[in-house]
């Protein structure tokens, strides 16, 4: 540490810096200028933010014309770190053979990590852009198939994003 230059207290600050007041005036000038700059506030209920495709909002099930894409493999339930997903499989006579009889996501537990979407082999569960989640009771926080199914047309942006970066 031979090159370290040591300063005494007096050398570190000039007289004008040590009496504080001019520096305080400079600081006040800075904050005064800030007052006239444009604000960043979004007037929320009137002005809503529309997220990009990369946004991880509420997880939803993709619904196609013949029904949901989900084949009830249970991988999402398995991978979910918050144990928020419950799937019960059932069989049909259709081409896909399996479908979820019960698919529930506990939105009070969900941490929006997107693992369910990543692990899904069918691209059946994806993260939507929906970030407005309010419920009045704990029971309302458990979303069943009625709330989870979203038509594929509304999820195009997210699906394209997933294919682009997969």
């Amino acid at each position: 540490m031979a090159n370290v230059k040591t300063n005494t207290e007096a050398q570190r600050m000039t007289f004008w810096e040590r009496i504080y007041l001019p520096e305080i005036a400079r600081g006040l000038g800075l904050t005064f200028r800030q007052m006239f700059k444009p604000t960043f506030t979004r007037q929320y209920p009137e002005e809503r933010w529309i997220p990009e495709g990369s946004y991880r909002g509420r997880p939803v099930l993709v619904q196609e014309e013949e029904g949901e894409r989900c084949v009830a493999c249970g991988l999402c339930s398995r991978v979910c770190p918050a144990l928020a997903i419950e799937v019960r499989a059932a069989e049909t006579t259709q081409e896909k053979e399996r479908y979820p009889e019960k698919f529930e996501i506990n939105m009070l537990r969900c941490i929006y990590c997107g693992f369910c979407e990543e692990v899904c082999p069918e691209e059946a569960i994806v993260m939507s852009k929906d970030y407005e989640l309010v419920f009045g009771s704990q029971e309302e926080g458990i979303f069943g198939k009625d709330k989870l199914l979203v038509p594929v047309s509304q999820l195009q942006e997210r699906l394209e994003f997933l294919r682009q970066w997969r």
Partner: protein, 349 residues
């Protein structure tokens, strides 16, 4: 004192108390608005036009809130502390000359001040601000909580050390004007120019000590949120908290008004100019008095804005820095100011 006088003075007192309460409400709004602008935000704008009713909504909420007293607190003193704080804050308003005489009834003139011609007004103000420490210290002590006690102790130490410099900085003004009567001080300044030009050092010292006395940033150690949760009012809720908060803003407006009176010429609109003669008005006529009232309120409001502006610009002092500034810098400076003022006045006369 006859009945008419009694009724008029009671009405004046009612007006002043209400004025203070409403002013405090809008100062809270101003605080939130200015802080928002400095941080490039909008601030409250939902309750009423431009957020005008926000403070009233807040006070309504405070009334509805549960009043919690800590189990280990001394209930009597816990309840007494906010009362002392607010009573002291209101008392100071009695002597502030908000306006000259507005009406004359039975040969007695009345203005927007309770006791404008009191000959010891300045001493009353200093005495009352000293009593204000009791409110804060009691609040901190009676809560029986560590954070509150720390806040109360800090504030007691801080207010007592800064009071010295505050009192000494005023002496320069008193020496020049030769009076403790606030109206006479204003009249002297109207005739001879504002005190801030003769006593700039005293003005700076008074401003700094006023910040410390009102527990405003950068001297807000008694309620330093990051260290002490809420400081001396941590254990207060509901309207008791509201009263402590109100007293704080009341003190802020009172200090601003006193500063305007002592250093910025009180209700004199422009220094070194005789406005009454310029406008062709009698200096004691109603329009002139109203103009002066507006000017006085404007000066006080500007100083309140500066208080707020400083709060949102500067970081908090450390405790040792605070004490060093008070005892090692401001006290010697104010003593030097008195000495120099005294010598100069002696030489001039």
């Amino acid at each position: 004192m006859n009945l008419t006088q009694f009724l008029i003075i009671t009405a004046q007192a009612g007006m002043l108390v209400n004025m203070m309460l409403i002013a405090a409400a809008y100062m809270v709004l101003a605080e939130r608005k200015v802080s928002a602008w400095i941080q490039n935000r909008l601030g409250p704008n939902r309750v009423g036009w431009w957020g005008m009713l926000q403070s009233f909504a807040d006070v309504f909420k405070l009334y509805l809130k549960e009043d919690i007293v800590p189990a280990a607190a001394d209930y009597k003193f816990h309840a007494l502390a906010p009362v002392i704080s607010i009573a002291v804050a209101i008392t100071v308003y009695a002597v502030i000359p908000w306006s000259g005489p507005l009406i004359e009834i039975d040969g007695v003139q009345y203005g927007l001040a309770m006791a404008p011609d009191m000959n010891v007004a300045l001493l009353t103000i200093l005495a009352m601000t000293s009593v204000g420490v009791y409110g804060v210290a009691l609040a901190g002590w009676s809560s029986n909580s560590k954070y509150s006690l720390m806040g109360g102790l800090r504030s007691a130490a801080q207010m007592i050390s800064y009071e010295l410099s505050m009192g000494l900085s005023i002496i320069g003004v008193v020496l020049i004007c030769g009076s403790l009567n606030l109206v006479e001080i204003i009249q002297y300044q109207t005739a001879n120019g504002w005190n801030v030009f003769y006593q700039p050092l005293a003005f700076v010292i008074f401003f700094v000590t006023a910040l410390a006395e009102t527990n405003r940033a950068p001297f807000d150690l008694p309620e330093a949120e990051p260290e002490l949760v809420g400081g001396y009012h941590t254990e207060y809720s509901g309207m008791k908290f509201g009263l402590l908060y109100l007293a704080e803003y009341g003190n802020m407006l009172a200090s601003s008004a006193i500063m305007a009176t002592l250093f910025l010429g009180g209700w004199d609109p422009v220094p070194f100019i005789d406005e009454a003669a310029l406008l062709g008005l009698d200096p004691y006529s109603l329009p002139m008095v109203l103009i002066q009232h507006g000017v006085f309120v404007g000066k006080a409001a500007t100083l309140v804005f500066v208080f707020i502006w400083i709060r949102w610009s500067l970081p908090r002092f450390r405790y040792d820095q605070l004490m060093n500034l008070g005892w090692k810098i401001l006290l010697p400076l104010s003593l030097a100011n008195i000495t120099i003022t005294g010598i100069v006045l002696l030489l001039l006369n």
